[in-house]
Symmetry: none
Subunit: 116 residues, 2 copies
């Protein structure tokens, strides 16, 4: 389970690619927990920090999500999409709310104008 010695890329990139392939091939399905950092480090014959460096990339790609004390889990594609749009969704919700408040305010002013 070690790394390819003929591959001149940094080990952390090889580990990241190996995990991407394992996820893509269904070895780890959405929701599954990956082996622990210590186990992966032993499997690939690298230090724990090297595994962490690989996971940093996978987290940035939103392919996995890590929880302290629990583990690192494979994300579903829909979860990744939701995460990328969650910030924008929240902004749009806020805008909708403000738009509604503006509409109510506008109606109140209209009534004031009609009563005068």
């Amino acid at each position: 389970m070690g790394l390819d010695m003929d591959d001149r890329r940094p080990p952390y990139q090889q580990v990241a690619d190996a995990l991407r392939a394992a996820i893509r091939d269904g070895e780890y399905a959405a929701g599954d927990r990956l082996p622990t950092v210590a186990e992966l480090a032993e499997q690939y014959g690298v230090a724990k920090m090297t595994v962490q460096r690989a996971l940093t990339d996978l987290r940035a790609e939103q392919l996995v999500v890590s929880w302290q004390g629990r583990g690192t889990f494979v994300r579903s594609r829909s979860e990744a999409d939701a995460a990328t749009t969650s910030v924008h969704d929240e902004i749009m919700k806020r805008l909708d709310s403000m738009h509604d408040e503006l509409a109510r305010l506008s109606e109140r002013v209209s009534r004031l104008e009609g009563a005068s």
Copy 2:
């Protein structure tokens, strides 16, 4: 030039934020080279690895680009913003619409105040 001891976030995040602010405030302009990793480490009183961890995030955000043997350079915004332009356009349209409605409402309220 050290870090805020009251900030309980990890030092690498504080370094990343400090660099983001320096770039946003024009201390480093597009195309400029940042101080070397060793210099930044000394400025902020952290290890070189901690600076590298911060730069890993900034590179993922496409805020900077690093070249071995040369340095780390600030990227122009046009290079990084293309992907999110459509979403921002939609938000700006909504904000413009609300701004117009607010302006009309403000004028109507002013007239009411003048008539009372």
